[in-house]
């Protein structure tokens, strides 16, 4: 028996120890009686309502470790989701501190937490955090004599968390979700910086953050928390990256993406950020364009190449962005972001540099100076179909400042010489000089152009100056001074005008109401000029455009020494354009008019023309040159006048046979010639022709084609002495067949 006794005692002791162990485990395992204590403490610390489902002892995670299950920190705004929910929160305590009366956390670990941050303009996130932290600190100090600034935590760990940022102020309610969030912070304390390492994913794109935060500021002001963090996202998950970058109208493909950002400083002292974003092998395809190649205008055909990339080979781009800025944010002021450097690179070299600052997340005042450093081939970028610029981008600079929506002002100084402009019918080919200076302002309600000046750098007398408002109601005053010979460089359809002279155009353009058609009123003044072969002077062309009707109340000009007055109407809504005009010509020296190139007979009308009549016809919508049918009626008087190149001796003497009456050294003179003129398309009909000279009266009618052919039936009465071989009364037919020096005359029987 004695031999079995120790064994029995041992078994008994083991059973007792096991029973004690099981009892202790179950007693400590359920530590829910700590829950109210911890909940209250967390309420005080966070300033938020905190709930915990259960508190247990978690010896597997550390000897002095409590596990809080289903921790939830509610937002102060009941409409917002909970600030944080964590499936498990493990709190480990320093064993020594447990005996000091002030337990110190050696580590906190959040397992599967979700943090929800709501961005609200009226209660900025950081300011709310600051409020909360400072209030908590005061409460703790008053209750425990120990504040948050005395906090020392050996390690804070987040395991597999989710960070959700909700921008509730955005009209579409933007949301950013960062998942797979893992983070470790070592030795968080008020005395030295704490290393931080984190990784997460944004829409499946992984990124890392490494660096230091802290030391915890005495004031617990999050604005004063120093940070030194480096963020990096490398080129994986390209499909997801492409989805992020693509828009409704532009499909983005890239073969490499890379982002790195360094942040250092503190918000109240200035948080400096340096960012580099690089997208290599980038393809930008518009999804809103038809899959056809748009044909450039004929005049630009040889100067541009296909910019629409849905067809044919596409070069990829290497696009990079670099910025260095300082973000200032403090309790009282609005955040201010100051750009020390801001560059955009395309295929290597920098193309754009910006300097300046913005406040209040782009909602506040801003001041940005943008400089174009290198011009690019605009075809590389996916512009909308109606984008008017092609070829090489403009050079120069522009400036924005002001506050949106109160007032933003723009100043631009651009050279568009290398740029092709397609604002049909305004078109400019490459290397045609053009400079643009703009001073404008914009508010939510209106866009004002203080001054827009377009000049020809090589010829400064050419300028277009514009000022006025674009919105809410178009009201622009435009002054154009431009040499007619240069107009075709920018307005190619006028090439056939073959104009010269300095054109001065004063024009007011506007709308009577916001949605009404635009109206214009102005005066075109050309002191001396030429259109085609016709020279003119003192041209004044007042005009008004209203309801798509161009009204020319009184065009005046001096042509060939005579006065031309025209009243006209042009219907701009028609295609081709329809016009009606009334024309008066006074004392025009017909001989000074250019010779009709189609006239082969050598017979030319000379003398002083007086005429009045109406002309109705059609004009090409682009070139404004006559096209289609033409109808005119009027009365002409040539007084005195002559037909040079006509042999009057043959005309008066020949009686019986057909004769050629052309002779460049002879002429038929008269005191006056009158006729009723009808113009129909290319045929001019002359009725009631009355030619009166001292000894003859010629009457008749005839017609003349503008191509140079015509026939006239004339009755001639003379007082000539028949002994000299002249006829007294006779009738003739004059025939012009367009043959050189061959105006024929056929005698007619009386």
């Amino acid at each position: 028996m004695s031999n079995r006794r120790p064994l029995l005692i041992s078994i008994f002791l083991l059973v007792v120890l096991f029973a004690i162990g099981v009892t202790v485990y179950y007693q400590t395992k359920n530590m829910d009686w700590y829950r109210p204590l911890i909940t209250n403490a967390l309420n005080r610390i966070t300033g938020h309502v905190v709930s915990i489902a259960k508190v247990t002892y978690a010896p597997m995670s550390g000897l002095f470790t409590l596990e809080l299950q289903e921790l939830e920190v509610l937002s102060q705004d009941p409409t917002e989701p909970p600030m944080m929910q964590a499936q498990e929160t493990l709190l480990s305590f320093s064993p020594i501190s447990l005996f000091s009366g002030t337990p110190q956390l050696s580590s906190i670990k959040f397992v599967n937490p979700q943090i929800n941050l709501v961005l609200r303009e009226k209660a900025p996130l950081m300011e709310r955090a600051q409020d909360t932290a400072m209030a908590s600190d005061k409460k703790l100090l008053s209750e425990l004599g120990v504040g948050l600034s005395d906090l020392r935590i050996g390690r804070i760990t987040v395991q597999n968390g989710i960070l959700v940022i909700l921008d509730w102020d955005h009209p579409e309610g933007r949301t950013w979700v960062f998942d797979h969030l893992h983070m470790g912070i070592h030795s968080l304390s008020p005395t030295r910086a704490s290393p931080l390492a984190a990784s997460a994913r944004y829409r499946s794109i992984p990124f890392t953050v490494n660096g230091n935060i802290g030391p915890l500021p005495d004031t617990l002001d999050p604005f004063a928390m120093p940070v030194l963090l480096s963020l990096e996202a490398k080129s994986i998950r390209l499909k997801e990256l492409q989805e992020i970058l693509s828009t409704d109208t532009i499909e983005v493909k890239t073969s490499r993406g890379y982002l790195t950002t360094l942040l250092h400083g503190s918000l109240n002292q200035g948080l400096q950020t340096s960012t580099w974003l690089q997208l290599d092998g980038l393809e930008l395809n518009r999804t809103d364009l038809p899959k056809v190649v748009k044909q450039p205008p004929q005049s630009l055909k040889n100067t541009i190449f296909d910019r629409f990339t849905n067809k044919g080979e596409k070069d990829t781009l290497d696009l990079a962005f670099r910025q260095k800025s300082v973000l200032h944010m403090n309790w009282y002021g609005t955040p201010r972001l100051e750009f020390e450097e801001f560059f955009i690179y395309l295929d290597g070299p920098p193309i754009l540099e910006a300097k300046g600052w913005v406040k209040n997340q782009w909602r506040g005042p801003l001041e940005l100076d943008v400089k174009i450093l290198n011009q690019i081939d605009l075809a590389k970028l996916p512009w909308p179909a109606d984008f008017p610029l092609m070829g090489v981008s403009p050079s120069g600079s522009f400036k924005l400042n002001g506050t949106w929506p109160n007032k933003i002002t723009y100043h631009a100084d651009l050279d568009l010489t290398k740029t092709i402009i397609d604002l049909s019918p305004l078109e400019k080919i490459a290397d045609t000089p053009m400079a643009l200076k703009l001073s404008a302002s914009q508010t939510a309600e209106k866009i004002l152009i203080k001054e827009l000046v377009v000049t020809h750098p090589a010829n400064p007398e050419n300028s277009v100056t514009m000022s006025g408002s674009l919105t809410p109601r178009l009201q622009l005053k435009t002054v154009i001074n431009w040499a007619m010979k240069d107009v075709a460089n920018y307005y190619p359809v006028t090439e056939n005008w073959k104009g010269s002279g300095l054109m001065k155009l004063n024009m007011d353009i506007g709308r009577k109401s916001k949605d009404a058609d635009w109206v214009a009123k102005g005066l075109l003044d050309i002191p001396k000029g030429k259109v085609g072969d016709v020279e003119f002077s003192k041209l004044k062309l007042p005009f008004a455009i209203d309801n798509k009707l161009l009204n020319i109340p009184h065009l005046q000009a001096v042509v060939a020494g005579g006065q031309v007055d025209i009243m006209g109407l042009l219907d701009l809504s028609q295609k081709p354009l329809l016009y009606e005009s009334q024309l008066t010509v006074t004392a025009m020296d017909v001989g000074e008019l250019p010779k009709q190139p189609d006239s082969q007979t050598g017979v030319q009308l000379e003398g002083y023309l007086f005429a009045h009549g109406t002309i109705n016809g059609q004009l090409d919508n682009k070139t404004f040159l006559p096209t289609g049918s033409l109808f005119g009626q009027g009365h002409i008087l040539v007084e005195p006048g002559s037909l040079s190149g006509l042999d009057h001796n043959v005309f008066y003497q020949q009686k019986t046979k057909e004769s050629i009456i052309s002779d460049e050294n002879k002429a038929l003179y008269w005191n006056s010639l009158e006729a009723e003129v009808t113009l129909l398309d290319s045929v001019v009909s002359l009725d009631n022709i009355m030619i009166d000279s001292s000894q003859t009266q010629i009457s008749g009618k005839g017609s003349l084609k503008l191509a140079g052919k015509g026939e006239f039936d004339l009755d001639v009465k003379t007082d000539f002495d028949s002994k000299q071989g002249f006829r007294k009364n006779f009738a003739v037919k004059i025939i012009d067949e367009g043959k050189k020096s061959a105006l024929r005359m056929q005698p007619k029987l009386q």
Partner: protein, 485 residues
């Protein structure tokens, strides 16, 4: 000095100093000059994908030392950046450098110019960066070779303010800076081997103009003399351009030392062309003040402080002190020699300085040697000066001994003994010789006694001749005067 009195020259220098660390900046490869091509490289040097740089602590310490030596502000936070450019000898396609947050800012140093007060030259910044490899073109037809041994060599780029106004200023600045890095033992300062390289930014402007002219950057300057010549050439060239109505183009120019001309190399890039961004593979460098203080406490004596000590404690002239502290090796030599003289119980630093700056340097220059190559060691020169100071040999004899030491080497004491050059200081034997000379020159004795005292020199010479120069001239003088009454 300005070449055209109507124009003012403005010069700023960028000096690249290769640091004398044992290993390279970001890996463990040895940092040595002259090894077989591509024998000192590893995947980090060769820019293999996936490799990560590890910062060399010693380099940071050397940068701090240099910054402290030029009274610069050591920045507690500095950041490495990638400077992106393609060059065949840079395998990564970028250089790791420091851009907007360098380790040192706002330094200064004072240059010494003949007959002018010390001039302050500001140092804008010192930043750490990595050197590139070398492209080798010579002796290869239709190809170039790349040696990556130099990749990863730690460099400090020391950028001056545009405070220099002449090539002489630039030369003095480089000498002072080279002396400093040598005193600190952070760089050997060898321009020919490229461990101390200089690029000069040069512009001219009309006197009184506030705005700087367009600058050009001069490269391939492998000696201080070439730096000065290239600057003078460039100033002339720019003035000629302006005078002829042309404009100076901002560009990088290459100095051709054989032809003494510079030629255009490429248009000068701006900083934004390099697309700098923070180096993601290296964390920002943060320094504790205590670390800086530790280094400061261990800084060696620097040239300016040493020169001041030489003047204050040894009574040397400013010029002599400047010459002796221009090179670390020179000052070390001088101090060692002077210590020997002091040990002999004769403190006369001026005499030692004279022997170093006049006799020794004169002979070294004549033979095209540097102080490191001197055949006369500091100890032996000190012994020689000591022999003079103790009166054992005369200055004249000392020069003979020195010439022997320089040509054939040897200890001066032994040379003096072997050649019987020891000065006669025994008054008995000198008196005997004096009496003999007086007896054989009665006319001169009479003339002296008649008031023509300058004849004494003749008599001294005769005694010295009789003793073959070994008699102490001061004693001869004294005995002669006694005998002549």
């Amino acid at each position: 000095m300005p070449i055209d009195p109507n124009y003012e020259t403005v010069i700023g220098l960028e000096v690249h100093t290769q640091l004398r660390t044992k290993s390279k900046i970001f890996c463990g490869c040895p940092n040595k000059f002259g090894a077989e091509a591509n024998s000192q490289i590893c995947p980090v040097c060769a820019g293999f994908p996936g490799v990560l740089p590890v910062m060399n602590r010693e380099m940071v310490n050397m940068a701090i030392k240099t910054g402290l030596a030029i009274n610069g502000q050591i920045k507690k936070l500095s950041v490495f950046s990638r400077k992106n450019y393609f060059y065949p000898d840079s395998p990564t396609g970028y250089q790791i450098s420091q851009y907007d947050l360098p380790i040192v800012e706002h330094g200064e140093l004072f240059i010494d110019l003949p007959d002018e007060p010390k001039k302050r030259i500001g140092v804008t910044r010192i930043h750490m960066e990595v050197d590139a490899g070398k492209s080798i073109h010579e002796g290869i037809v239709g190809a170039s070779w790349v040696d990556l041994n130099r990749v990863g060599t730690p460099l400090l780029e020391i950028v001056s303010e545009p405070d220099m106004r002449s090539s002489e200023d630039a030369g003095a600045y480089l000498k002072k800076l080279r002396a400093i890095v040598r005193f600190l033992d952070v760089c050997d300062g060898n321009m020919e081997e490229g461990s101390f390289r200089c690029d000069a930014n040069v512009s001219v402007r009309h006197y009184g103009a506030e705005k700087f002219g367009t600058r050009t950057e001069l490269k391939n300057l492998n000696s201080i003399r070439n730096v000065m010549r290239a600057i003078d050439f460039e100033v002339d060239r720019q003035i000629d351009l302006i005078e002829s109505g042309d404009k100076v183009v901002q560009e990088t120019r290459l100095w051709d030392a054989n032809k003494n001309i510079s030629r255009s190399m490429r248009s000068k890039e701006d900083a934004h062309d390099y697309r700098y961004f923070p180096e993601p593979d290296l964390p920002p460098l943060t320094l504790e003040q205590s670390h800086i203080d530790d280094i400061k406490a261990k800084l060696p004596e620097l040239p300016d402080a040493m020169a001041k000590r030489f003047q204050d404690e040894m009574g040397l002239s400013e010029y002599d002190a400047g010459v002796l502290t221009a090179e670390k090796e020179m000052s070390t030599y001088f101090e060692e020699a002077n210590q020997i003289v002091s040990n002999a119980g004769k403190k006369n630093a001026k005499a030692t300085a004279n022997w170093v700056t006049v006799e020794l340097l004169g002979r070294l220059n004549k033979d095209g040697l540097s102080i490191e190559d001197s055949p006369v060691s500091a100890v032996n020169l000190g012994k020689l000066v000591a022999l003079i100071q103790t009166g054992e040999i005369s200055g004249k004899i000392a020069k003979k001994v020195f010439a022997h030491m320089f040509d054939d080497g040897g200890d001066p004491e032994k040379i003096v003994a072997e050649k019987g050059l020891k000065q006669v200081t025994d008054s008995g034997s000198i008196t005997a010789e004096v009496e003999k000379v007086l007896a054989s020159h009665p006319d001169q004795v009479e003339q002296y006694r008649g008031g023509k005292t300058q004849i004494l020199g003749f008599l001294v010479g005769k005694v010295m001749q009789a003793t073959r120069g070994k008699a102490n001239p001061a004693m001869v003088n004294k005995v002669l005067k006694e005998k002549l009454g």
